[in-house]
C-alpha cells in the first residue's frame, strides 16, 4: 500500500467495496465512459484555426455588404438542455440560438467584446500562455464593465467553438481544497501530496495537466462548506477514515474543483459521496457535482459525476437523530422556491430516494446545517455520523 494504514480495519469498508463493485459493473454495462460530446480538448492549432474561421466569416459577410453576426447557442435555456442518466444535464444537438448582430444598437457592443476576447484568446494560444477570467477582465475593466460579462462571453465562445475553456487557455480561479490519500504531479513537475495534516492543498488550476495520480482511497467525500471541511480536518477525519480523499469547493464549486472530482472518478472509479447541509442550497450544490449546471451544460461530459451519492445530511437524518427543533431553521420563501425548482428538474425523477428526502424537507418546512449535529457532541459528525454512514451504506 502507498500509505501507512491509520484508518479502520478492512471490514469497515465492506459495504463501500460492494458499492464500488456495483458502480464498476454499471460502468461495464454502460459500455465504459460515455463518449465525449460538446466541447473537447482541442489542440492549439485547432483553436487558432477555429478563430480564424470566425474572422473569415465576418470578413466575407462584410464583403457582401451584410452585417456580420455571431450565432450563439442559448446555453442557459431549459429548452436546449436534456438529461441523461449517464451524463447529467447536457445540451441538445440542435439548440436554439440567438444572434449577436453588429448592426444593432443593442448588440453591437457585445459583438465587439466577443471579437475582443477572441483576439485575446488567439494571442494566449499562440504564445502558449494562460490567463484567468479575472485577468481577462482586468486587461480593460472599463471596456468590459463587469466580470460577469467576461465570464459569459468566454462561455459563449467555448460553446460556439466547441472547445473546452482550458483549450482556450483561459483558466478559472481555483478556490477548492483537497486533502487525504492522494498524490500527483503537476504539469510543471511539482509533486503534490495531499496527505492529511493540519492544512489542505489547494485544488490546482491546471487539472488537465496533472498526472501520475496515486491513491488508495476507498472513497471521495465532497464537502459543501469550508467550515465543515476545516472541522473534519481538525478532527483528523482523513486519518481516522483512511484511506480517503476529502475535497471542498467552498460552496458552489468552481470549474477546477469539478474537473478534479471528475478526474478522480475517471481515474480511480472510487465511490464519491457528498456531505451537504440539509437545505435546498446544499442539494443544489450536490446536483452541480452530480449532474452539472445549466450554464456549463455544454461541457457536461468533462464535469459531471453521475455516480455521486448523497451521504448526508439527509432530512430524514434530522428526525432519526432527534435533532432538536431549535437547531432547525425554517425554510425561507426563496428556499421553498429553490426546492420546488429542484423537484421539477428532470434528473430528480430518476432519484426517488432524493425526491423523498426533498419532500420530507418540503413537508416539514425546515432545514438544517451540518453543524446542527453538534447538539449531540462537538465531534459527532466525524466520530459517529460519518463513520456509521460509511460503514452501513447510509447513502442514497
Amino acid at each position: 500500500m502507498a500509505f501507512a494504514p491509520m484508518g479502520p480495519e478492512a471490514s469497515f469498508f465492506e459495504v463501500l467495496d460492494r458499492h464500488r463493485e456495483s458502480l464498476l459493473a454499471a460502468l461495464r454495462r454502460g459500455g465504459g465512459e460515455p463518449p465525449s460530446g460538446g466541447s473537447h480538448l482541442a489542440s492549439s492549432s485547432e483553436v487558432l484555426a477555429s478563430i480564424e474561421n470566425v474572422i473569415q466569416d465576418i470578413i466575407t459577410s462584410l464583403a457582401r455588404n451584410e452585417a456580420p453576426a455571431f450565432m450563439i447557442e442559448n446555453r442557459s435555456s431549459w429548452e436546449n438542455i436534456k438529461f441523461e442518466d449517464s451524463v447529467g444535464l447536457q445540451m441538445v444537438s440542435h439548440c436554439t440560438t440567438r444572434k449577436i448582430k453588429s448592426d444593432s444598437p443593442k448588440s453591437v457592443q457585445k459583438f465587439a467584446l466577443i471579437l475582443k476576447i477572441l483576439s485575446m484568446i488567439y494571442k494566449l494560444v499562440q504564445s502558449n500562455t494562460y490567463a484567468t477570467k479575472r485577468d481577462i477582465y482586468y486587461t480593460d475593466s472599463q471596456l468590459f464593465g463587469n466580470q460577469t460579462v467576461v465570464d459569459n462571453i468566454i462561455n459563449d465562445i467555448s460553446c460556439m467553438l466547441k472547445v473546452s475553456r482550458r483549450s482556450l487557455h483561459i483558466l478559472s480561479t481555483s478556490k477548492g481544497l483537497i486533502a487525504g490519500n492522494l498524490r500527483y504531479i503537476e504539469e510543471d513537475g511539482t509533486k503534490v501530496n495531499c496527505t492529511c495534516g493540519a492544512t489542505a492543498v489547494a485544488v490546482p488550476s491546471n487539472i488537465q495537466g496533472i498526472w501520475n495520480l496515486v491513491t488508495d482511497a476507498k472513497f471521495v467525500l465532497i464537502v459543501e462548506k469550508d467550515a465543515t471541511f476545516q472541522r473534519l480536518l481538525d478532527d483528523n477525519f482523513c486519518n481516522k477514515m483512511s484511506p480517503c480523499i476529502m475535497i471542498t469547493g467552498k460552496g458552489v464549486p468552481d470549474l477546477n474543483t469539478r474537473l478534479l472530482v471528475k478526474k478522480l472518478w475517471d481515474t480511480f472509479h472510487i465511490p464519491v459521496f457528498t456531505l451537504v447541509d440539509a437545505d435546498p442550497h446544499g442539494i443544489e450544490i450536490m446536483c452541480i457535482y452530480k449532474y452539472g449546471s445549466m450554464s456549463m451544460s455544454f461541457e457536461a461530459h468533462h464535469l459531471t459525476v453521475p455516480a455521486i451519492r448523497w451521504l448526508g445530511l439527509l432530512p430524514s437524518d434530522l428526525k432519526r437523530l432527534n435533532v432538536p427543533k431549535d437547531s432547525l431553521i425554517p425554510l425561507t420563501k426563496r428556499d421553498q422556491m429553490k426546492l420546488d425548482s429542484i423537484l421539477r428538474r428532470p434528473y430528480v425523477t430518476c432519484q426517488p430516494f432524493w425526491r423523498k428526502e426533498m419532500e420530507i424537507m418540503a413537508d416539514s418546512k425546515m432545514k438544517a446545517e451540518i453543524q446542527a449535529l453538534t447538539f449531540l457532541s462537538s465531534d459527532y459528525l466525524s466520530r459517529v455520523y460519518l463513520p456509521n454512514k460509511l460503514k452501513f451504506g447510509g447513502w442514497i
Binding site: A49, Q56, D103, A112, K116
Partner: protein, 554 residues
Amino acid sequence: MKGTAVTVFEILRFLIIHWKCDIEVSKGVLLEGQLVISIEGLNSKHQANALHCVTTIASAGSLFGGTVLKKFLKEIQSILPGISAKLTWTSEESSYSQDMTGVTPFQMIFEVDEKPRTLMTDCLVIKHVLRKIIMVHPKIRFNFTVKVNGILSTEFFGRPKFDTIESYCSRIHPVLGHPVMLFIPDDVAGMDLLGELILTPAVALCPSPKVFSNQLNSISSVSIFLYGPLGLPLILSTWEQPMTTFFKDTSSLIDWKKYHLCMVPNLDLNLDRDLLLPDVSYQVESREGDQSQNMDLQGQTLLLFLFVDFHSAFPVQQMEIWGVYALLTTHLNAILVESHSVVQDSIQFIVDQVLEQHHQAAKAQQKLQASLSVAVNSIMSILTGSTRSSFRKMCLQTLQAGDTQEFGTKLHKLFCEITQHQFLHHCSCEVKQQLILEKKDSAQSTEDTPDNSSLELLTDTSGQAENKRLKRGSPSVEDMRTLYSARAPSLSEAALGGRAPTAAPLTPSGREACETHSRALTPGRASLGNHLEDALWLQEVSNLSEWLSPSPGP
C-alpha cells in the same frame, strides 16, 4: 407707395387666406395648386433710372370658383389701397360654368416704377417669402420669373418628383411644444379680437442628428422662423431690421446658460444668399474663460418655429385673419414681451427635450464608434498575428486590399457603412413608409402619382435655384393628441411621432443632407400616404386652433 415685394406678398397672403377660408377646403386636405409670379421690368418712360415693373400673379391651374372672383377682387382692392398701380383681373370666363365643381384660373396684374436696385432686393425678398410659404404649404408651387430689359431668369419653388428611395431617413423631425395663449398689451391699439392668439413652438435640429453618422456636433447657431395664422410667413413691419427688441435679448426665449452656451445675435442675414433665411438668427460664441467650449463651425443649427394662430369660438372671418396679421406685423414685439414668461416656458421645455435627445443620440453614436473600433482592432490583431499565410491572403483578397493597412481602412469603412445604415434606419418616417407599403399591398393603387405629400428640404443639385421645403415626419394622430393632452407629454414619443414641418438647411453640410433626402419616397407610395399626411399636417400647423385645447394657457 408699396414696393413690388410687399405687394406680391400681401396679394399672396390674401389669396391664400381667401383660398383657405372661402373654398371650404376639407380638413384633411392641404392647399394645392400652382401660382406663377412674373415680373417684367423695362426702362421706365416716366422716371429716370427706374424700371417700369409689371407683376403678374396667375394660377397655373384652378384655385377657386368664378363666383367669388369678383368679390375677391373687390376685397383685395379695399385691403390693399396702397397699391396705386393698376390692379387688373382677368379670368377665363369662357371656361367658367356654375356646374363645375372645379375652379377657374385667374390672373392679377399690377404695375409699379422702381429703381433697379430696389427691384433686385424685392426679388430676393419675394424668393425668401416663397420659400417660407412652401415650407408650410408643401402642395403650393410657385414659378417665379423675372425679366429685366429682355434678360430672363426663372426659378421654381416646389416639390420635385422623386423616383429613388433613400436608404435611410434624413428628415428633420421637429418637436411640437405646448401651445400657449399670447397676451395683447392694453396699450396696443388695434382690432378687438373675438378670440385668442395662440403660439405653438416647434423645435428641430438641422441637420438631423441621424444624418451625421460620424459626428454629432454641438449647437452652433439658432434660427427662428415666424409664422402667422394659416401658416403664412410673418413679415414684420420692421423686416429690414428683423431683430426686434424682444429677439435682441438672446435669452428671451431660451435660457442658454443651462446648456453652457452663449448666444449672440447674428445680424448677417443677407438676402443675397440663395438660402432660406430665418427671421431671427443667433450664433454660439465661446464663453470667456471656458476653454473647453470651442465654437463648432460645423455644428448643428437649432431651428425654432413660432406659429401664431388665431383661435375663436366663432367662425373666423377672412378679415379677422387679415387683421391678426396686421396686428402681428406691427406689434409682435410688444405681444411677445407681454407674454414672455409663458412663451419662454413653452419653448424651453421642448428645447430641453430636443437637446436631451441630441445628447442621447450623441452618446449612442460614441458608443457605436467605440464598439466598431474595438471590433476592427480585434480583427486586425488576429490578422496581423496569424502565421497562416492562406488565412491572411484570403482576408486581403476578400476585401481587395493590397496590404494590412489598406485592409484595416476598408474594414473600418465597411463596418461604418453597415452599422450606420441600420442605425439611421430607425425613425418613424421609415415606420410610416412601411405602413404605407403594407397598405399598398392590401389595396390597389396607381404607380404614376408624381408627387408625394411629404415636405422635404431640398437643394438644387444642379446649382440652380434652391427649392427649400419642409420635411415632415409622420406623426400619428394619437401621438399628436397625446402631445397636446398633457402639459408635459412624453416628448420622446412626440419627438419620434409628433412632427411639424420645417427645416432649413443653412449650412453646406445641411444642404448635402437635404439633397440626399430629397429622393426619400417613391411616387407609388405617396398616393396612399397623401391623405394621411395631409390630415396630420393640417393638424400640426394649418389649423392649429382646431386641435388645441380650449384654454391652452400655461
